[in-house]
């Protein structure tokens, strides 16, 4: 069963592939003109973009349940990466097992379109369960740190990311312009575009650091340039992919670009705290999964509730 793509979703995907072709050509030409400079990381990054976009397209067009399994797997990889980075107590092995089990359960609520449970399962039930399970183990040394870091990680990698999935199961009536799939494309596409835009503006014009102690590469110029570019693109795409009017599109653009920035620097702060550069090396040129979905951990819940508040009857 293949999901039918609306025309606008189809052409948006074509445009994304167009951008990838352009990026590949630019990187190729640059390494030809300046053979003395090492572009290998940039080349790897563009190549990985191709793979990520191809996988995303595939899971989005096959059918909705495949997309849900994919988002659940994304949560699993992100949580695994997070738990591999933070110091965990040996005594907590069984607790971590329960933490992993929360993923299929959380995505089952999504599949079931059971919003009430979806929205409280991790913040309430898992929040109450994990300390209890730790107490049954009986190790109190480092208890607060262990339970705090574990729950924070679940909120970021499971709760936040599952909002992408719930956006996908919203009734198509919410969005006459392409349905739920178009909203997911709008959210993911603009969040990732904003990352690249902020990076490019920062590289070209960056002077004044925003948060020098957390991430010296983030500049006011990059942030503002990215925000403007992303918001303009949001306004252009909104009539094709979303139910938004001009004013809502403007707000969505600001939410996505500012939220994405915050998500990015929050994960940067975690990495700085742990004294590591990348969260992993699953995605050549990008780092780990967390490095790639850092912005989405903020934009997914923010955008979801923006849509829900304004458009769900």
């Amino acid at each position: 069963m293949i999901t039918e793509l609306s025309d606008h979703v189809f052409w948006t995907l074509v445009a994304i592939y167009g951008l990838l072709v352009m990026a590949s050509i630019i990187v190729g030409v640059m390494s030809k003109i300046r053979p003395e400079t090492d572009f290998s990381e940039l080349v790897a990054r563009v190549k990985t973009w191709w793979v990520m976009v191809a996988v995303f397209t595939l899971v989005m067009v096959v059918n909705r349940n495949v997309s849900l399994v994919f988002f659940a797997f994304l949560s699993f990889l992100a949580l695994k990466e997070y738990l591999s980075l933070i110091p965990t107590r040996r005594a907590d092995r069984r607790v971590l097992f329960w933490a992993y089990l929360s993923i299929p359960v959380q995505y089952f609520w999504v599949f079931d379109q059971y919003y009430g449970m979806f929205i409280i399962f991790v913040p309430v039930y898992i929040f109450l369960l994990l300390p209890l399970r730790m107490i049954l183990v009986g190790e109190t040394r480092g208890f607060l740190k262990a339970v705090g870091t574990l729950h924070w990680g679940l909120m970021v990698t499971v709760f936040s990311i599952s909002h992408l999935a719930f956006l996908l199961v919203l009734p198509d009536a919410v969005n006459p312009n392409g349905g739920a799939a178009a909203l997911v494309l709008f959210l993911v596409g603009l969040t990732q575009f904003n990352d690249v835009a902020q990076y490019c503006w920062g590289k070209a014009f960056g002077r004044h650091q925003v948060v020098p102690t957390v991430s010296p590469n983030k500049t006011v110029e990059g942030l503002l340039g990215g925000m403007i570019t992303t918001t303009v693109l949001a306004v252009v795409l909104a009539p094709r992919l979303t139910p938004f009017g001009h004013r809502e599109a403007l707000m969505a653009g600001i939410i996505l670009s500012l939220g994405g920035f915050v998500g990015d620097i929050v994960i940067s702060a975690v990495k700085r705290d742990l004294d590591i550069k990348d969260s992993g090396d699953l995605l050549p040129g990008h780092g780990g999964i967390l490095d790639r979905i850092d912005s989405l951990t903020y934009t997914a819940p923010l955008f979801f509730h923006f849509v829900r508040y304004l458009y769900l009857p």
Binding site: L77, K80, S84, R89, R90, R93, R94, I276
Partner: protein, 213 residues
């Protein structure tokens, strides 16, 4: 046949899902036998990970060296160890005959041995002193490359005594091969073992600090 099916259908998919291994310098792993891959040992997963890292076409020639007193302790485990994994059992204790003989003939047959010179899995994520057997084997087969490998994080997934694997990412660091015939060892097995252990310890230095808190 059973070994191929077991590794292709069960071991590989489970390792990809549960473990997720980052390998540094995979090209230093052997591409043909004879060779000896030597690693630190913390988990039953160590063997499985090393076996899947080697090219699949070599699978039938890859032979983990395993303690007879543990892996042949009951008939079911013995059948599984011999058929699905293809271990070469050796006796850890007792002195009836030369325990290295089976290893030498496997190397003569161009097989690849996986050997854990600590002799046991021990405490999770801690390395014990290497036993001397690998030194004697290297002296007896002076041209066979010995490849040092450091495995990091697998002891967190499935430590000794645990039944429930908990997913984590793990790292594999491969080092340059040594041969027993190298003049700097002066045909001294103890010098070889010392040098080998230093190499594995040096590889451990590359690992991120993310053991237990």
């Amino acid at each position: 046949m059973i070994k191929q099916i077991f590794f292709r259908l069960i071991v590989r998919p489970v390792l990809i899902l549960v473990v997720g291994v980052n390998v540094r310098r995979r090209h230093l792993l052997p591409e043909r036998g004879p060779a000896i891959v030597v690693a630190n040992h913390n988990s039953h997963l160590d063997t499985a990970v090393l076996m899947t890292l080697l090219p699949a076409r070599l699978l039938n020639r890859v032979r983990p060296v395993a303690a007879a007193d543990y892996f042949l302790s009951n008939p079911l485990l013995a059948w599984f160890s011999r058929t699905a994994i293809g271990i070469i059992p050796i006796r850890r204790k007792g002195d009836d005959g030369d325990p290295l003989e089976a290893l030498r003939s496997a190397l003569d047959d161009e097989q690849i041995l996986i050997l854990f010179p600590e002799g046991t899995r021990g405490e999770p994520e801690e390395m014990a002193d290497f036993k001397s057997g690998i030194g004697r084997l290297a002296m007896q087969c002076p041209n066979v490359p010995v490849i040092p490998v450091y495995l990091h994080g697998l002891g967190k997934i499935l430590p000794k005594g645990a039944f429930l694997p908990v997913p984590f990412f793990s790292d594999v660091f491969v080092g340059e091969a040594l041969v027993g015939g190298d003049p700097r060892f002066d045909a001294d097995p103890h010098r070889f073992v010392e040098f080998l252990q230093d190499r594995v310890t040096a590889l451990a230095g590359e690992a991120p600090k993310r053991a237990w808190d």
